[in-house]
Symmetry: C2
Subunit: 316 residues, 2 copies
């Protein structure tokens, strides 16, 4: 599937949703969101995306067109009879804390990801935060991807530990936050937690720390990307999904590297992709909902990567 430039398609499985957002700047109802939506828009900045998700009758055709116009193949989006998954949340004034006001699974409750035949050879797969049994099912359907990147959350860590372990054994990269890493490993120290989790399957663990950036742990060591201190954060919703989308999108655009074997080239590529994921997330939070990732250009991300790199440059 590799183009002459080394660009490969990425398969993204996750949720598509409506979010009712209470932000310090206002209330934004029926905002299109969901992990697959954010991640697909983000990844489409870099490469061809194939998305697998479910939406209800009420999901706007305009969003689907917008995805298509960015080269996202949407034939894996099932339109089910009923309402789209809906989440409502209220953010603190500081945009760090948030409370969930309401969750309505709707058509997402019975989501069974169906991978279109033509997408089963996808070399890179992003498993968004869905039931770990469904994540494993996706892996059963695709033919030996070079790189499987997975997300999860406390809900599954607590509720489905066995299913999660089975999925983890097949994932190459796991992206979670620090609290999730502590809960998954039962270890408070983040470095020891990372070693423990990496023994369960993923060769690379990425720990997101919100405004403080992210850490990557692999066989070659630890890599730290600081959060870019923005003057105006508008809406943190989907930051993690935009990070994951930017990360896999950048990787998929550079598949000239062999993901299967540990190497300096792989370590370098994963670290550079961390910078691109961080930059993509930092662009995403500059607007409400998917407004920023929907129109994101590589030049926007490149410019932010340059700003992030400058954060840890000691002038010569």
């Amino acid at each position: 599937m590799t183009s002459p430039k080394g660009r490969a398609p990425v398969l993204i499985v996750g949720s598509m949703a409506f979010d009712d957002l209470e932000l310090p700047t206002g209330v934004f109802k029926d905002t299109v969101g969901g992990s697959a939506t954010y991640a697909s828009f983000a990844a489409s900045t870099f490469t061809e995306v194939r998305v697998v998700a479910v939406v209800g009758d009420d999901f706007p055709a305009a969003t689907l067109s917008s995805l298509e116009s960015r080269g996202v193949q949407i034939n894996g989006i099932e339109r089910a009879s009923g309402k789209t998954f809906r989440w409502a949340g209220r953010y603190d004034k500081d945009l760090v804390g948030r409370v969930t006001l309401d969750t309505q699974l709707n058509v997402f409750a019975d989501f069974q990801p169906k991978i279109p035949e033509a997408h089963k050879d996808s070399p890179i797969v992003l498993l968004g935060n869905i039931h770990p049994a469904l994540q494993s099912q996706v892996l059963d359907s695709v033919r030996a991807p070079d790189l499987c990147v997975a997300d999860t959350m406390n809900f599954w860590i607590q509720g489905e530990p066995k299913k999660l372990e089975a999925m983890l054994a097949r994932a190459h990269v796991l992206i979670i936050n620090d609290e999730e890493a502590r809960e998954l490993s039962g270890i408070h120290n983040i470095r020891k937690a990372a070693s423990d989790i990496r023994k369960r399957g993923p060769h690379t663990l990425i720990i997101k720390r919100g405004e403080h950036g992210a850490l990557l742990f692999d066989d070659t060591g630890i890599f730290a990307v600081p959060g870019y201190p923005l003057e105006d954060v508008v809406d943190p919703t989907g930051a993690g999904d935009s990070f994951a989308g930017g990360f896999v999108g950048y990787l998929a655009a550079h598949v000239e590297t062999d993901f299967k074997k540990p190497s300096v080239a792989r370590a370098r590529l994963l670290r550079t992709a961390m910078l691109y994921g961080t930059a993509t997330a930092s662009r995403s939070v500059e607007g409400v909902g998917t407004s920023k990732v929907e129109t994101l250009a590589t030049s926007d991300v490149d410019a932010r990567v340059t700003q992030i790199r400058a954060l840890f440059e000691v002038p010569r």
Copy 2:
């Protein structure tokens, strides 16, 4: 005062104390601490230190000898009749949160820093976290230092805003944490808060973020140093003071740079000193009290700086 190598002495003013520490690993009573103690041990790794503080009859001569043996001039330490300042605190299991159980100012309540005549030409001054009026008094006593680095805390921000403003107008570098930066500026966004604070005097603002490292803001931009993810944090007490001590110590060992004018050389030196401050703090927290900074060698700090630099290196 500059030696042929460009090494200058640093004047450190602050507290010397006993700390009763309740750590997850045990209870450690009568542990020698205080901002000037930690900062002096830390800075003495790099250069000659002159310390100004007050202790009571009960302060151990062994600590004073230990300071002297590391080239710290202790003739500015006043021994007053009465008890030494005492602080008691309990740390959470995660060593991030802590509560103050008791504070007894004792002889520190009437502290009037007296700068020995021979120390009044100190080119670099570190004003530890004491009453801002006393910090200004120290600046009245010293003759035009090249670099004045100051610390403060919420207690003075709330209680002595006028006195603090007057001191800030004369400080070149301010070192505070993110909550203090927000409180001092009245601005939540850390980047806007930094701009506001830098207008009040300091050309450089350093914002400490605990385990997440630190940010530096100056005319040339923003510099971010990640916290080094340690396998075993033992005692975070004095981490901020060790950071400040390592920071000014490194600067004092490199006074070939002109601190008075903005330049690439100054920006580079301040950033490198941030790395050394972070490394010093990360060594300090590996032991209880001052045990680690008391015996710190430049090679220990160099090794940690190398590890921290590796955190943000993308292999070529």
